[in-house]
């Protein structure tokens, strides 16, 4: 049986005895190969969770295992990559030197080290700047280098804390492609991000974290929930006839040539369309009203 990539058991962190704990009894299992999105508002404790899993912060109680090894042991971090949210690299080093240093720390075999460094430099688009001092780098380029460091040595688990916060749109697309390629290689990816559309595009599973606790956890479809509404677009402005025709199907909101039916079962949608056609209206488009991850996020955080 393969071991879970992350298996935390009642992980708790209280920075000061008088303050409320930053993380409370976090129990979470993430299977290998999963791209996991960890979402929550600022101050929810997401980075504390990540730092505990990486051995950077000591849990007050509880434990967690990375591929079966306790996070209290340095060996748990073998073949684990990490891109911190706030970081900088020594300004006197070049990207190639930074990567060489991390390759040595990550025990990347000496004979494959040079090729591995070139691979990750190319992956993040930094090959042409590999000989420049990082002190001259913009924040976005530092983030690309951080990503290269995290991907060094083909990690089996990668933690990305706000991986696109400093990147331009091109950089964001690059990161999305990199995460997709990691998924194809069955690498487990743990993403902390505020960019919900990105998480929605990339993640197999998400958890919402609030005040140190998980308030929802599951596949994106399960978290967002199924929709019960449709949007119907006509080839002309809708009028009172449409409202009347749709009365048996629930409340219809009309705006120009668009009608929104917010509470209709999928099975009754053809009947609603037929009712409009029967009243002389021509239909151009029928689309389900889907709830976004962002809407779900706001709902959960409002509770």
């Amino acid at each position: 049986m393969s071991k879970a990539a992350i298996d935390s058991r009642r992980l708790t962190k209280a920075y000061r005895s008088n303050d409320p704990p930053a993380v409370v009894d976090l129990t979470l299992t993430i299977e290998p190969g999963c791209v996991f999105g960890f979402l929550g508002p600022n101050g929810a404790g997401k980075t504390t969770v990540l730092k505990m899993l990486l051995g950077l912060t000591r849990p007050s109680s509880g434990d967690a295992l990375l591929f079966g090894r306790s996070i209290r042991l340095p060996r748990a971090r073998e073949r684990v990559g990490y891109l911190p949210e706030l970081f900088r690299y020594p300004p006197w080093l070049t990207p190639r030197e930074v990567l060489d240093y991390h390759a040595a720390l990550a025990a990347v075999p000496r004979d494959t080290r040079a090729a591995e460094i070139e691979r990750v430099l190319s992956l993040v688009g930094l090959t042409s700047r590999a000989g420049d001092r990082t002190g001259t780098f913009s924040k976005g380029m530092q983030q690309r280098l951080g990503l290269a460091v995290a991907l060094l040595g083909h990690p089996r688990l990668v933690f990305l804390d706000e991986p696109t916060s400093a990147l331009d749109p091109v950089g964001r697309v690059d990161v999305r492609d990199i995460v997709r390629s990691l998924r194809e290689r069955s690498t487990t990816v743990f993403i902390n991000s505020h960019l919900l559309t990105e998480v929605e595009q990339l993640c197999d599973r998400v958890a919402f974290f609030r005040k140190g606790r998980i308030v929802a956890d599951g596949p994106i479809d399960g978290i967002v929930g199924s929709s019960r509404g449709v949007r119907i677009k006509l080839d002309a402005h809708a009028n009172g006839v449409a409202t009347e025709a749709l009365r048996p199907f629930g409340e219809a909101l009309i705006h120009g040539d668009t009608i929104a039916l917010s509470d209709i079962a999928a099975a009754r949608v053809p009947d609603a369309v037929a009712a409009l056609v029967a009243n002389g209206m021509r239909i151009r488009e029928v689309t389900p009203l889907s709830r976004t991850l962002e809407q779900r996020f706001l709902e959960l955080m409002d509770d």
Partner: protein
């Protein structure tokens, strides 16, 4: 640990203070050579050249005085190099990706400390050899045990460096280096006070001096260095200050203080590694 140590040495060599220290050392060596050359060619008031004994006794005192100033440079250097290595680098985010690697915090601190001890040692040796060579070539004078003296000064700098490193686990760089340098300064002042105790047979002052040497053994290391640089004929002369100054000792501290200093450095570095292991990043 080796990877951390090598990276620390690279860091020290790349930062701006490395070329600055090298340039200043070269400048001081040139000035030293010029100064001692002038001394060797001085004439007394009656126009006769200074005798061999006069030149050598003056040179011997000036070498000790130079070593005294050099001990300050090493102490400051040790404190300034060690102070930003833990807390400041952690808070700036520089250490986060490093500490997330499969390495223990103890090996991280050990690697940093080993590199600094080596760097300070190499610098002490190179600077001292350059200075003593300049003295030897211009005046012909060589102190009795120069290498032992340099070793003692290296230990002195290592004590300050270890203290700075231990403080930097929790304190910002400026506070760590200031406290470490202040501890060095206080130890030096208490050493002078205790020399009054020795001169006037005051048991209380002598005891204060011993306690101070045990708490921060920099003054003990300085006294060992002085003893190794002092020609036998000058023991207790102190450049005319008699026994009440930092430039001469009649007898060095007992050899046990050397072992105590080794143990002191080991304990302080172990404490630094232990507290850093428990520190949240």
């Amino acid at each position: 640990m080796l990877t951390i140590a090598l990276d620390t040495i690279r860091e020290v060599s790349r930062r701006k203070f490395a070329p600055a220290a090298m340039a200043l050392t070269a400048l001081v060596t040139v000035l030293t050579a010029w100064g001692f050359w002038s001394l060797a060619h001085l004439h007394a008031a009656n126009g006769r050249p200074l005798s061999f004994v006069e030149v050598h006794s003056t040179t011997a005192f000036l070498v000790i005085f130079g070593a005294f100033l050099f001990s300050f440079v090493l102490a400051f250097g040790g404190a300034i190099l060690s102070a930003p290595l833990l807390s400041s680098d952690l808070e700036s985010g520089m250490l986060l990706p490093v500490l997330a690697r499969p390495i223990s915090r103890v090996s991280f601190v050990t690697g940093k400390a080993a590199a600094l001890i080596l760097v300070v040692g190499i610098y002490s040796a190179v600077a001292a050899v350059l200075q003593l060579l300049a003295v030897r070539l211009t005046t012909g004078y060589v102190p009795p045990h120069p290498f032992a003296a340099v070793g003692a000064l290296w230990m002195l700098a290592t004590v300050v460096m270890a203290l700075g490193l231990a403080l930097s686990v929790r304190l910002p760089a400026l506070a760590s280096s200031l406290i470490a340098v202040m501890a060095f300064g206080v130890s030096w002042m208490v050493g002078i006070v205790s020399s009054f105790g020795i001169a006037y047979h005051n048991a209380m002052l002598i005891r204060v001096g011993v306690i101070s040497q045990l708490l921060v053994p920099t003054d003990a290391m300085w006294r060992i260095a002085v003893y190794q640089l002092e020609p036998v004929a000058m023991l207790g002369h102190n450049g005319g200050f008699g026994p009440l100054g930092p430039f001469s000792v009649v007898s060095p501290p007992p050899i046990a203080i050397l072992w105590w200093t080794f143990a002191w450095i080991a304990v302080v570095l172990t404490f630094a590694a232990g507290t850093f292991s428990r520190r949240d990043a």
